[in-house]
């Protein structure tokens, strides 16, 4: 065999980050923004984007300090063996729970819009199984998948974004510069959950082949995602009004569902769900893969593939054990708060500790 190109290049990393962020963040963001901030909730998106910058810095900085290692591998190096293992486990649990909640949340969409009578376990199972396949094949295939879909998906999304401007009322997003900065900031913190898939980078960055460009590439992906998120939030609030958005559980899908071309296309919702499904496929596969990879590293076993298979029933069980939508929303709210500590605060502290105690490579930043 030819020497396998292990690792992912800049293009693939960009696509992976963008797709997983889009899949995770786009659907519910307008609702969170409208609920926590109001008519100009879009400023919260900007705040969330700013919050994501230090996280990217931590990814790149820690990656530079511990090249070829994932967070599970270098945590014991930073905090000592015992604490490192515990923190690693918490991080892994976080990845696992985010996978479970995310899976369960998106299943709701398909259960309520496309498959009314199919039992939940069937929908969860097929989505999970389909996503497990790329997860099993590894990060390279996942990112290649993202890359292959990129052109078509973002072309369609952009068309949908433009078409959904039907019935857009600029009055709904005005006044632009009003509102309490404190509310905007706290709303931005809540919206930061859109950037949670960045947690996967702590596991994946070790395979990146051009680490000198890391900061630029991840930022670029984050920026593209930010633009889409920003536009979707503006558009959804502009169409429905801040209070009107709160009615819907899946505001962005609603936005596209109401968009039609008479006689030709009954609804754009279908196309949006197509392309969005392709993105959540990436997100979910990424979460599964990183969790399995993390487990393998935590237990010190080389092959992550067994863990993908082992995790399937666990995730299935956890996803199905959430009794109903109301509990799910409670969990998600709590998770959004906890997540900030795990994704943003904890890596930054780790970075600071590594810098203070001179752990890892000395020529690091």
């Amino acid at each position: 065999m030819l020497p396998e190109k292990t690792g992912i290049g800049s293009g693939l990393l960009f696509m992976f980050v963008l797709s997983s962020l889009f899949g995770f963040g786009i659907m519910f963001a307008p609702q969170v923004a409208a609920e926590s901030i109001g008519g100009n909730g879009y400023w919260g998106v900007v705040v969330a984007f700013l919050f994501s910058l230090p996280v990217i810095a931590a990814v790149v900085g820690l990656g530079k300090r511990f090249p070829g290692k994932s967070i599970i591998a270098y945590l014991p190096q930073v905090y000592g063996k015992g604490f490192g293992k515990i923190f690693g486990l918490i991080f892994l649990l976080f990845l696992l729970i985010s996978g479970v909640l995310f899976l369960r949340d998106i299943t709701g969409i398909f259960a309520s819009f496309f498959l009314f009578r199919s039992p939940l376990w069937a929908i969860v199972s097929i989505i999970l199984l389909a996503a497990a396949y790329p997860a099993y094949l590894g990060i390279e295939v996942i990112s290649r998948q993202a890359s292959f879909l990129f052109t078509a998906v973002y072309l369609i999304i952009t068309i949908i974004l433009l078409m959904s401007l039907q019935h857009f009322q600029p009055d709904h997003i005005r006044p632009v510069l009003a509102g309490n900065p404190f509310i905007v900031a706290s709303g931005g913190v809540r919206l930061f959950y859109c950037y949670f898939p960045m947690a996967m980078l702590f596991m994946v960055y070790q395979y990146y082949t051009e680490p000198e460009k890391g900061w630029k590439i991840i930022n670029r992906a984050g920026l593209v995602f930010f633009v889409y998120l920003f536009l979707f939030v503006i558009e959804t609030i502009g169409v429905y009004g801040a209070k009107g958005v709160l009615r819907y559980s899946f505001p962005v899908l609603e936005l596209t569902r109401k968009t039609t071309i008479p006689y030709v296309l009954q609804t754009f919702g279908l196309y949006f769900s197509f392309v969005w499904l392709s993105q959540i496929y990436i997100t979910l596969a990424g979460l599964l893969y990183t969790t399995a990879q993390g487990c393998a590293e935590w237990f010190g076993i080389l092959n992550y593939k067994r863990f993908v298979l082992l995790l399937l029933p666990v995730i299935l069980f956890l996803a199905l054990s959430i009794p109903g939508a109301i509990d799910l929303h409670g969990f998600i709210k709590a998770f959004q708060t906890i997540g900030i500590w795990v994704i943003a605060v904890f890596p930054l502290i780790t970075w600071a500790v590594a810098w203070l105690f001179q752990r890892g490579e000395q020529n690091g930043p």
Binding site: L115, I123, Y133, R144, Q266
Partner: protein
């Protein structure tokens, strides 16, 4: 993998390792003609087409041995028997190795010293001449086996482009390629694969362009093959593929010499197999199956449009039945109301569930397709009318199938021919059923998930280290544009980077300032013209010279 283990379990006991023919041990040719002939007859039996011609002048002098079915008897007579006989008449003997070689009026004479080589050459069509008192036999080739004329390829027809297709004879095929590429760097490596068939195989590549890792890897994989025989290049393509368990072709096959020549110029490796009109090309990406020489014959706008149509056709061929089913039986709310009215009205009397109805129609059409290939020419026309028109129409009238279903299935079948390669098209045929069943169970969700699963599978494929979906994944922006559009030649300055060629540039800009007068005496001759063309396409053919960036 468990089933691979079952299938490839080695034989035990007496049958062990019986792939190789029971061949002669290494044995030297003796000085006694009769003994040599007797030994050979014992080894290869006495086949009906074996001819032994003995020259005698006071006892045996020489003997010519060949297979009548492979060698041309009359040519052998005039170029071998006649000069030897004349020599014998004139000199009355005294034939030795040196003057015999001078007597034979043929360009190439092989010398053999042991029997296994003699047997191999006789079986491949050479005539072997034994001389008395000589321990060396002489082999000459006057092939006399039947060969097919060069015809237009039947599977890859184009309206604009070369009309030549490969024949079944390796040397002819090689000649066709060589007429395109007159480059000393064109490496032609000869191999023989198949323990019993000893099929001749030629690897073609440009030494200074093709990625040397790929060439090395290909040679290793070919060397690993142990098989009794190669009947068609299809055997090889399966044996050298990176992944065994996939229905997507990981090796490109083509009947068109112009495709092979273009591929070699791109830095890929072509494999010609004797007795097979299909050449293989590696590495290959998925995009290659949607490009034909006609794209380059027409204007580039037209070429781009043709590529788009092919991609669209393939998309329709794979997804339409699944999408149709998802729409009419699981998620009809996604259709425009007028369409719902028409489709539901057409289906009112149909007694079957939609899944069954569409599947039935699809299977019937697949059977038709397969049957028409076998049907003799004039009957296939009747079949076409009877099958397509009558059964379809009567089926609708009898309310067994709905008209829309028939339309969907027919469009699907037609669209499936948009793929420019049969192997790839057959693969899509399987994917179509997979997507169809998934859509039947889970509507739009199943449809998309099945599509994504297939894409993931394709993403996991590699052909000689090149990702199957390159240039889309991993992204190569320049090639990506070229796979969607047909980039005109004047803007096409690089070879596809997916194949990682040694020389990346393929077009340059000639500096004409040195020439005195373009219209006057110094008008380039035909010969110059040719080299000029070579320079444009295969820039810098001289070994050791590196391509320069024109920009």
């Amino acid at each position: 993998m468990f089933f691979q283990k079952i299938f490839t379990k080695p034989q035990t006991g007496a049958n062990r390792g019986r792939i190789r023919p029971q061949t002669t041990e290494q044995r030297e040719i003796t000085a006694d003609i009769e003994a040599n002939l007797q030994f050979l007859i014992k080894e290869i039996g006495e086949p009906a087409d074996l001819v032994i011609h003995r020259f005698e002048k006071d006892g045996p002098v020489a003997a010519l041995m060949y297979l009548d079915s492979l060698a041309d008897g009359s040519l052998l007579g005039s170029h071998i028997s006649r000069p030897i006989n004349e020599f014998l008449m004139k000199n009355g003997g005294g034939l030795d190795l040196k003057n015999t070689e001078r007597l034979l009026t043929t360009a190439k004479i092989y010398n053999y010293r042991d029997f296994s080589a003699v047997i191999a050459s006789v079986l491949s069509g050479q005539a072997v001449l034994f001389l008395q008192q000589q321990k060396t036999a002489l082999g000459v080739a006057f092939p006399g086996f039947p060969r097919r004329a060069v015809k237009e390829p039947s599977t890859e027809k184009v309206t604009r482009g070369s009309r030549e297709g490969f024949t079944d004879v390796l040397t002819d095929n090689l000649g066709m390629i060589r007429r395109w590429i007159k480059d000393p760097n064109l490496a032609v490596t000869k191999l023989a694969i198949g323990e019993r068939t000893q099929t001749e195989i030629n690897l073609l590549y440009l030494k200074d362009v093709a990625n040397s890792d790929v060439v090395k890897e290909l040679k290793t994989r070919l060397a690993k093959i142990e098989i009794d025989g190669i009947i068609d290049s299809g055997y090889l393509s399966e044996l050298i593929a990176d992944q065994k368990l996939t229905f997507f072709p990981l090796v490109q096959d083509t009947e068109r010499p112009d495709k092979v020549a273009a591929a070699v110029l791109e830095g890929r490796v072509a494999i010609l197999v004797d007795k097979s009109p299909f050449a293989l090309i590696v590495p290959v990406t998925s995009d290659e199956f949607y490009q034909t020489p006609a794209d380059f014959g027409y204007n580039y706008w037209v070429g781009s449009f043709l590529r788009f149509i092919r991609a669209l056709g393939t998309f329709i061929a794979v997804t339409l039945p699944g999408l149709y089913l998802a729409m009419i039986s699981v998620n009809p709310e996604l259709l425009p109301p007028g369409l719902v009215g028409v489709v539901s009205s057409a289906r009112v009397q149909v007694p079957f569930p939609a899944v069954f109805e569409v599947l039935l129609t699809m299977v019937v059409f697949e059977i038709f397709r397969e049957a028409i290939i076998r049907a003799p020419g004039n009957i296939s026309l009747i079949f076409g009318i009877a099958g397509g028109a009558l059964i379809g129409f009567c089926g609708i009238q009898a309310a067994l199938v709905s008209a829309v279903t028939v339309i969907v299935v027919v469009i699907t079948s037609l669209a499936s021919f948009a793929t420019a390669n049969t192997g790839k098209e057959q693969a899509w045929r399987l994917v179509r059923f997979f997507v169809f069943f998934a859509a039947a169970c889970f509507g739009v969700l199943g449809f998309v998930l099945a599509g994504l699963t297939v894409l993931t599978h394709m993403n996991s494929l590699k052909s000689f280290g090149v990702s199957y979906l390159e240039p889309w994944a991993p992204p190569q922006s320049l090639d990506m544009a070229d796979s969607f559009f047909r980039i005109p030649w004047w803007a096409h300055s690089r070879r596809p980077s997916s194949y990682r060629p040694q020389q990346t540039d393929r077009t340059g800009h000639k500096d004409l300032t040195g020439l005195k007068d373009l219209t006057g005496k110094d008008e380039p001759t035909d010969q110059d013209d040719l080299t000029g063309q070579d320079d444009l396409t295969g820039k810098n053919n001289l070994p050791g010279q590196e391509g320069e960036d024109p920009g």
